[in-house]
Symmetry: C3
Subunit: 294 residues, 3 copies
């Protein structure tokens, strides 16, 4: 078993020449059992491109298990010299990811909240700081943490569909996106769009998301795979080393900020989420979701 | 009587749960007499929305009296649990506010300059840091300090009219917008637009202001009230606490910067404005305005 | 002779009232002989506008000689009260500047690399921090360092031509744009466009460069001179002092950052450029250019 609040990560040999940005001093821990059925990982050795396909019904929510599997899968690819790029997409129709799993934040112990939040941080540090080319093929709605996953990639292609939306809508649930969600968002859409969108907890329809630069392009569903492959090929045409150092230069300030305030951020999350008023509104939200389903 | 350079503010009990951002250590002072006829304040208790209507002829210039009344009115609303949002607009045709009152900066004592500048800072700290939803209904031209007032709100709706313009045109008068005007501007329009606009002292016609994101939308005059109410309702649909914390997260860095350099900023203003060359160009500008009027 | 790594600059009397931003503690050095035939400088005393026309065949590459001449010419104009604005343009058809001269970075001594890099820094510090109005009349392609020269001006007008492109394409050559190239780029186009463009080493066709804000306007070749003069006149209509202080306020943070890390940045450049892998790819690139030519 693992000490609470520590995400186990096994294979840590850095691939040589892939050292542009590294989250410093990650705690090592023995492996615990982890799910390996929430994300389908396929690596095409000829192109050097892996696909991580989220397949955690009903809505690919970011549970502790999902996040652990995500980090370990990403880490393995990061350390695999045969892999230079990763495509993130969903195997579930109409949803990319619904974001953080609310059941992990409701009626659990302080230790559990800490462990969960550390895993959320870990996922972002590894994805936003990845040395690989990361492309989000957003084939469904992508609220809150799902939007963060997309924002953390190098490029976002979204399926144009009047039913799909994307955004950091935390404020709608009465909760606040942490500063590093905000920093990531500001780096993509600028300060003004982020300020307005975060305060309103906006879920943007696809044309608006494209206009604001929240996604880089829109495609019809049947062109998604082809377009994603073409974009990935364009990014992989560059020499890895210069591209990695450039990416690191652009993202280092924001990555370092979380690394410097990581424990504080966990404490903030715990004390916020364990408030009775917040617990109450999360319970109400979950009731609402259950009723919707049935 | 009040010590020079201190803006008196009376009612300071913070509304509970409204503590997202607070300008630290504001000097308390006994009340002096202050005008209460330059701004018409009306609170609609059913909606929780107040309107502050500027009615200081001829051009709603930001005199020391106006600023004092503005701060006290805003403070009262901030502390009134019945009030959740404020609309800023003008009762004077064709002008929202002409900006800082030049007569306060011309031929006065050092003490007066200090008191005046502290009041300008205070206005911005309270408005930009307000926990309420603030919407500017810009129904006329809005140069310099008038533009700052609009920029400090959460949302800007401007009446589309070929005769109206908006911008931080200080450079046109040979003076320099202080760093916190600049920071506020950059947060709205980005670095490049701000750099160019501030150096040229541009007054942007309404379509350009909209294109640059300086205002969020344009409406015909007769739709302004309806549109403003609809926008306010949209923002008030969010739970206050999460929205306030989010707003604070977005604006804190810029607010803290003035708080940290407040006295220095006052000294800079005094030494700049009391230069004979600056006094001379302000006098010339006032002469020109007088001639225009007659 | 001059100590290695020190760019000699002769006339250093600052023009009075032109002290908005000054690179601190520049090393003074006795004059060495320098070319004065790579840039044609003409000052029109009636308008106060100088033109610096690059005429260093075949492609206006930024050699050590070119950079030295550039800095000395700019310095002379900066100190000439008759001069208030500078237009940068090219006398060579189809190319504005091809950027840093690769022969200066290939097969030379450490001392040479240091001297060269200090000259590149010096050029940027003087141009980005210039108190004069600087307008780039980009009448040809402008990759890498050529793009930096344009980005460092106050305004960019580019000739619309399907054969011209502009961008910081360093990553294409396997090298990394230094942080101050990046800072300058981010200040013009924002974080997201810069992140993507730098990683891909994009050379943007003129319509795209305009859409991203990398250039401010596009004109047909035969309108370039007229348009440039009109833009310069618009900027010179403002009082110098307020405009200079405003420009300094906008650019100081980024200028100070290089000044604070100048020696470190030189060391980084030397250790990067002297790597055998980098030398090899630069040699291959030069071979390719030679073959293209013949």
């Amino acid at each position: 078993s693992v000490p609470p609040g520590v995400l186990p990560l096994c294979c840590r040999q850095p691939a040589w020449g892939r050292a542009a940005w590294q989250p410093p001093s990650l705690p090592l821990a023995p492996c615990r059992a982890f799910s390996n059925n929430k994300i389908l990982v396929e690596l095409d050795e000829s192109s050097g491109v892996a696909t991580m396909k989220f397949k955690s019904p009903p809505v690919n929510s970011l549970s502790l298990d999902f996040l652990t599997e995500f980090c370990i899968s990403l880490e393995k690819l990061e350390n695999d010299r045969a892999c230079r790029g990763v495509i993130l997409t969903s195997a579930i129709p109409k949803i990319f990811s619904s974001g953080l799993d609310i059941t992990e934040m409701c009626g659990k112990s302080m230790e559990h909240y800490a462990e969960f939040w550390r895993a959320v941080q870990e996922m972002w540090l590894r994805l936003y700081g990845s040395n690989m080319v990361t492309v989000a093929a957003v084939n469904g709605s992508s609220p809150a943490g799902g939007c963060l996953v997309a924002l953390s990639c190098d490029y976002r292609i979204m399926v144009e569909n009047p039913k799909f939306s994307i955004g950091l809508n935390e404020a709608q649930l009465g909760i606040v996106a942490p500063f590093w969600f905000k920093d990531t968002f500001v780096n993509v859409v600028g300060h003004r769009v982020a300020e307005r969108s975060l305060q309103l907890g906006s879920l943007h329809p696809t044309p608006e998301a494209h206009r604001f630069g929240l996604v880089d392009e829109l495609v019809p569903e049947d062109k998604l795979q082809e377009k994603t492959a073409a974009v990935m090929a364009q990014w992989l045409a560059l020499p890895d080393h210069a591209r990695q150092l450039t990416k690191s230069m652009m993202r280092k300030a924001v990555l370092d900020r979380l690394v410097a305030h990581r424990e504080e951020d966990i404490q903030n999350f715990i004390s916020f989420i364990s408030k009775e008023s917040i617990q109450k509104s999360l319970r109400m939200y979950m009731e609402m979701l259950k009723k919707k389903k049935s």
